[in-house]
Symmetry: C2
Subunit: 217 residues, 2 copies
C-alpha cells in the first residue's frame, strides 16, 4: 500500500487530501499553519504541523518512507524549492510540485521534481478557449495539435444521424460520444438521431476542429 | 468584436490575459496592485490600476460596455463577492468568477455569476486520479460517470491491432486515438499495430475503464 503525503494545505493541496480521503486512501497532511492542520485533522489520516524546509522536521515525520509526496506551497517559492530539494535528497521516489511560474518550474525541473503542476495556468488556457469560441462548451487539450471539444447540436444539425453528417469525411474529425438527455452515448452511435440540446464530443486536429466549428455546426 | 476584462492578475487572471494576447484578442487587465498592473502593461491591450469593489472606479472604466468580465480575485473572498455583485448590477452580460471554496461558490451562484471556476480543486481531482492509478497517464472527467483516460501500451498489448484487442466488446470502452511516435492517430485506427510506448486514449464509463485498466492493460 502506497504512502502519500501532502505539504501545503491551500486550495490545491487541501483538495488532494479530501479526494484521497474520499477514495479511501491514507494521506498525511502537513502544514506550518496550525489552523490549516486543524482543518484537516478529521479529513486526512494524519494532520501534522511542520515547516517542510526544516530537514529535522522532515526526518522526524519519516518522510523518506513515503512513496509519493505532493508539494503544494504557493506564494513562498523559495520554501517550495527548498522542500523539493530536501525531499529528493531524502530519497522520496515521487515528488510532484505545484509551480507558481516559469522560473519556479525551471528550478524544480533541475531539482528532479517528478511532475510539475500549473493548475491556474492550465485552467486559464481552457477558459480562454471557451470564452473566445461561442460554440465550444468544453475544450480539452490532448497535445499541441490535437484537442477534444464539446459542441452543442443546433437546429442546423438536429434531425440527422452521424452517418449522414459524415464529419470524418468532411472535416477529418471524429465524434466519439454524444451527450443526450443527461446520458452519454459512447458507441455505437452512427445511427443516433441528433436532437437540439445534445452535445457532440469531437476529437481531431485543432485546425480541423476549428473548421468543423465554423462550417459544420 | 467582444470586449474582455480581467479583474485580479494572479496566476489564473494573469494567464488568461497572456492567453488572450497570444490569441490576438484585446483585453483590459485590472488590479488594485500597481506592481501587477505594470507587469501586464505590455501584455494586455490596457492595464489599469483600480479597486473593483469601488463602484465609481468600475463606472469610470466603462465596465458596463464589456461583454465578458473574469473576476480572479483569490484570498479576499468578500472583494470577489462584492465585485461580482457590482458587475451583474452594472449589466455585464457574462461574469465568470474564480471561487475559493464551496461557501464562496454558493454565494456567487446566488449573485448570478455565469460560470464559477475552481482551477486548483479541479486539477487536484485529476492529480489524485493519476497518483492512485499506476497505469493511467492522464485522466479527464467527461461527466460523473464517464471519463477519458490515457494508458500506456505494455508488452501485454504490443504487437496487436485494435481489431484484435476488441476493447469495445470486452470492456465496453472505445479507443478514440493512439499516440505513437510523437504523433496522434485519430482515425481510422483499427488496423494500427500497437508498439510498446504507444499511448491509448480511451473513453468509457468509469467502471468499464477501471476494468479495462486492471484486466486489459
Ligand atoms: N515551509 C512550509 N512548510 C509547511 N507548509 C507551508 C510552508 N510554506 C507554506 N506552507 C503552507 O502552504 C499552504 C499553501 O500556501 P499558499 O496559500 O501560499 O499557496 P497557494 O498556491 O496560494 O495555494 P492554493 O492556490 O493551492 O490555494 C499554506 O497553508 C501555507 O501555510
Ligand atoms: N478589490 C480588488 N480590486 C482589484 N484587484 C484586486 C482586488 N482584490 C484583490 N485583487 C487582486 O487580485 C489578484 C489575485 O488575488 P490573489 O493573489 O489573492 O488570488 P489567488 O487566487 O491566490 O490568485 P491565483 O491563484 O490566480 O494566483 C491580486 O493581484 C490582487 O491584487
Amino acid at each position: 500500500d502506497k504512502q502519500f503525503a501532502v505539504i501545503g494545505l491551500g486550495r490545491f493541496g487541501g483538495s488532494i487530501c479530501k479526494e484521497f480521503a474520499k477514495m479511501g486512501y491514507e494521506v498525511m497532511a502537513i502544514d506550518r499553519d496550525l489552523e490549516r492542520v486543524n482543518e484537516y485533522a478529521n479529513i486526512a489520516t494524519q494532520a501534522v504541523q511542520a515547516n517542510s524546509t526544516d530537514e529535522k522536521a522532515l526526518v522526524a515525520l519519516g518522510i523518506r518512507n513515503f512513496d509519493h509526496v505532493i508539494v503544494s506551497i504557493g506564494e513562498d517559492i523559495q520554501s517550495s524549492i527548498l522542500t523539493t530539494l530536501l525531499l529528493k535528497e531524502a530519497g522520496v521516489a515521487k515528488v510532484w510540485v505545484k509551480a507558481q511560474n516559469d522560473y519556479h518550474h525551471k528550478v524544480l525541473e533541475k531539482l528532479g521534481a517528478d511532475r510539475i503542476i500549473h493548475p491556474e495556468r492550465d485552467m486559464a488556457l481552457r477558459v480562454a478557449q471557451l470564452i473566445t469560441s461561442d460554440k465550444i462548451i468544453d475544450f480539452i487539450e490532448l497535445s499541441n495539435e490535437h484537442s477534444i471539444i464539446e459542441v452543442g447540436v443546433t437546429t442546423k444539425l438536429a434531425g440527422q444521424t452521424l452517418t449522414e453528417l459524415d464529419v470524418r469525411a468532411k472535416y477529418g474529425c471524429n465524434i466519439v460520444a454524444i451527450k443526450q438527455d443527461n446520458d452519454i452515448l459512447v458507441s455505437p452511435i452512427a445511427d443516433v438521431v441528433l436532437k437540439p440540446g445534445d452535445v457532440l464530443v469531437v476529437i481531431g486536429q485543432n485546425k480541423d476542429l476549428a473548421r468543423f466549428q465554423h462550417e459544420g455546426v
